[in-house]
């Protein structure tokens, strides 16, 4: 699907110009043989907090994620990378059961949070999402004031006993999201009046106001300029002292900068997981190497 023989045959010369180190197609690993569903590298974490075992996701008849097993450590940043449509966002959305909202989606396998199955019957997805927060690709502040945006989570979960405590939570969340200096005089203004990067930090503040244990980030910087991206990345460095962060990203540089471990997805399979340094210097799998060197994607 990703590697099209027809295209390469026609544009042979172009491929040679752009990627002089290109390997002839015949030398590329065949998917049928290489994509066996076995993950290479090391899916285990030293200090596992969220554990996915043999996770499959079906959208109707489409088997979107196949037999994925992955451990996510406490206070660790793990990056999910891979070409578009490889299932990394789908896997991310399994971790806080956001896939429940898609009617045709069906999830099998086991995902545990702190040793407890999050798909068990007694698990209320509402309670789960308070523990596993999420930041989305496009900044999506509510059309309410900055204050109300951050206060919304604590309000619905009843985290603050009175107004003073709520004020406190809002201020500290904005502070940790590095936004307080920019907005402290205009908390009553709508959250949508902020710039894109500020909006995304507002969304992060909103997420950490609920004090989750894991933060899922679905390409949080893809709509931002490089300066805003750098700020968010700095923020992640600070946040990982308290939270486990799972980030989906299309930017190899970002994965290299912020994450401790990297998982490479391909066509619904988890191909390789390892320490970030090893993935980028010595990938075990041919597909991983092709992707990080820019040959497929």
């Amino acid at each position: 699907m990703v590697i099209s023989t027809g295209m390469n045959a026609v544009n042979d010369d172009i491929v040679d110009i752009n990627t002089p180190q290109a390997v002839p197609l015949a030398n590329l690993p065949k998917r049928q043989t290489e994509l066996t569903g076995n993950t290479v590298g090391n899916t285990h974490s030293d200090n596992p907090f969220m554990v996915a075992e043999d996770v499959n996701v079906y959208y109707g008849d489409n088997h979107a994620i196949q037999h994925v097993s992955l451990e996510i450590g406490k206070k660790e940043v793990i990056a999910l990378i891979g070409p578009s449509g490889c299932g990394k966002s789908t896997f991310l959305r399994c971790l806080n059961r956001m896939n429940d909202t898609i009617e045709t989606a069906r999830v099998t396998g086991n995902i545990t949070l702190d040793g407890k199955d999050i798909y068990r019957k007694e698990q209320d997805p509402v309670a789960l999402r308070a523990r596993v927060g999420m930041v989305f690709q496009k900044p999506n502040p509510f059309p309410k004031s900055i204050y109300d945006n951050v206060a919304y989570g604590p309000r619905i979960h009843g985290l603050a006993a009175d107004r003073a405590e709520l004020d406190n939570i809002v201020h500290s969340s904005l502070e940790r999201a590095g936004l307080i200096n920019e907005v402290k005089d205009r908390l009553d203004e709508p959250g949508t009046s902020l710039s894109g990067g500020q909006q995304q930090r507002l969304c992060i503040a909103r997420t950490i106001a609920v004090n989750p244990e894991v933060i899922l980030m679905d390409e949080p910087c893809s709509a931002l300029d490089p300066i805003a991206t750098a700020r968010i990345e700095d923020l992640m460095d600070e946040l990982c002292e308290d939270y486990a962060i799972v980030i989906v990203t299309h930017s190899m540089q970002q994965a290299a900068r912020v994450s401790k471990r990297v998982a490479y997805f391909h066509l619904g399979l988890l191909v390789e997981v390892d320490e970030t340094d090893r993935i980028f210097t010595n990938p075990q799998h041919k597909l991983t190497e092709d992707y990080i060197t820019g040959r497929i994607g």
């Binding site: 009617e103 999506n140 502040p141």
Partner: protein
């Protein structure tokens, strides 16, 4: 380079044709708009031209002697049997003494409205001490005289071809010369119920009937419609059943309104034994009529709430109900309200279903409750349009102007509400 220039030549060769097409299409569009505006202008102009005179009414001034001998022979005023018309008639005879003989007098009496007697009665009821005095009163002229004054009946026609006799024309002329005839604002049109006499007929009964019906419709169809839309959009599983429901709701919106009237007749009146001609039943029928409109508009409004807002709330751990009430409802409310008001204005203009449930009855009294017999504005318009008296023609147009005024106000409200509640993100 050579390739580029030939490409440019080809593009330029095609340009005039493109411009011609664009011009033709623009002209067509402008023509279509102009035709629409023209029709609308003709419609409004004719409506106002026909209807504006109904807002005025001709009155005659009479010196009426409130003689005790005629209306209170025993010293007691008997409202049921006292001959108030007799007082008016004797005042007329005194004013125009040249009418002699029965035929003449009968013609003479016809220049004043039968409402004059009621006016005298009401005056005496309010002020009993006036008994025995002579009062100068302005009483309404009969509708034919009113038409004559307004020029709707041509006095130059042959006598046999007009409902006003030569003598009546002469009397009216002499009254006018004496300064005892004038036209002034027709308050009766707004304060009276229906009447067989055009000069006494008003729209208050119909307006109140319409308001009561709209009240019932609004109280029922908005909450039910919004609740149904929210359930179908946010909670209902997508399967064959919900598809079936969706198709049926869309079909219901297209069902001819008279069918809803039949349903109301069968269910609300025959089965549930609710009173006929009542605004309550009318409101229930109009609820059925507007529900699909409101459901469809509300679902569209809910669908237009960006999914990112839902995801944001869900991701924070809001329950489905919290997502709906905290985020979806406030954002969808302008659209829902607009749909509701558009449904309401459709209900206000509806007459066919009301015919089936007896709201076409001739009802003089202004309804005071949801179960009183009533008509509605569009039905009143139909009734008046159907009446033979010349004076009802202008009143029909006047009632249409009032109805359109109501519709305009409702639609303006919808626009203002939408502008006010709309939030940007």
């Amino acid at each position: 380079m050579n390739d580029n220039s030939t490409t440019r030549q080809k593009v330029e060769a095609g340009l005039p044709r493109r411009r011609r097409k664009e011009f033709a299409f623009k002209t067509l569009g402008m023509l279509a708009t102009a035709v629409g505006i023209l029709f609308l202008g003709v419609f409004f102009a004719s409506l106002v031209a026909d209807g504006w005179s109904a807002f005025k009414q001709t009155y005659l001034q009479l010196d009426i002697e409130l003689s005790e001998d005629v209306i209170a022979p025993g010293g007691e005023l008997d409202l049921a049997y006292a001959d108030f018309d007799g007082l008016v008639r004797s005042a007329l005879r005194k004013e125009l003494p040249d009418a002699s003989g029965r035929r003449d007098r009968r013609e003479l009496y016809r220049i004043v409205s039968v409402g004059a007697g009621y006016q005298v009665r009401d005056l005496l009821v309010a002020n009993p001490e006036l008994l025995g005095t002579t009062q100068t009163l302005w009483v309404p002229a009969s509708s034919n005289i009113d038409m004559l004054i307004k020029g709707n009946i041509d006095a130059d026609l042959e006598e046999a071809l007009r409902p006003v006799s030569d003598k009546q024309v002469a009397w009216v002329e002499s009254l006018r010369e004496a300064g005892r005839l004038k036209t002034r604002f027709n308050t009766a049109l707004f304060t009276n119920g229906d009447s067989r006499e055009p000069e006494l007929a008003g729209i208050k009964g119909a307006v109140m009937g319409s308001l009561y019906m709209l009240l019932v419709t609004m109280m029922l169809s908005f909450p039910i419609g919004v609740a149904a839309a929210i359930y179908l959009e946010e909670f209902a599983p997508r399967n064959r059943w919900s598809d079936l429901i969706e198709v049926n709701i869309n079909n219901l919106a297209a069902v001819p309104s008279i069918v809803f009237g039949l349903l109301g007749l069968a269910v609300f009146i025959n089965w549930a034994a609710l009173p006929r001609s009542a605004p309550l039943v009318g409101g229930l029928v109009l609820t059925l009529l507007t529900l699909p409109v409101i459901i469809i508009a509300s679902r569209a409004a809910i669908k237009s709430v960006p999914p990112s807002i839902r995801e944001a709330a869900l991701g924070l751990g809001a329950s489905q109900t919290q997502v709906v009430f905290h985020h979806v409802m406030p954002l969808a409310m302008p659209g829902m309200l607009t749909g509701a008001i558009i449904g309401m204005s459709r209900a206000l203009g509806e007459s066919a279903p009301l015919l089936m449930i007896g709201m076409i009855a001739f009802i003089v009294d202004v309804p005071g409750s949801l179960t009183d017999p009533a008509t509605a504005l569009p039905v009143q318009i139909f009734l008046w349009a159907d009446s033979p008296e010349r004076a009802f023609a202008e009143r029909t147009s006047a009632a249409i102007i009032v109805l359109l005024g109501f519709l305009l106000v409702m639609n303006l409200t919808a626009v203002i509400l939408r502008k006010r509640l709309e939030r940007k993100w």
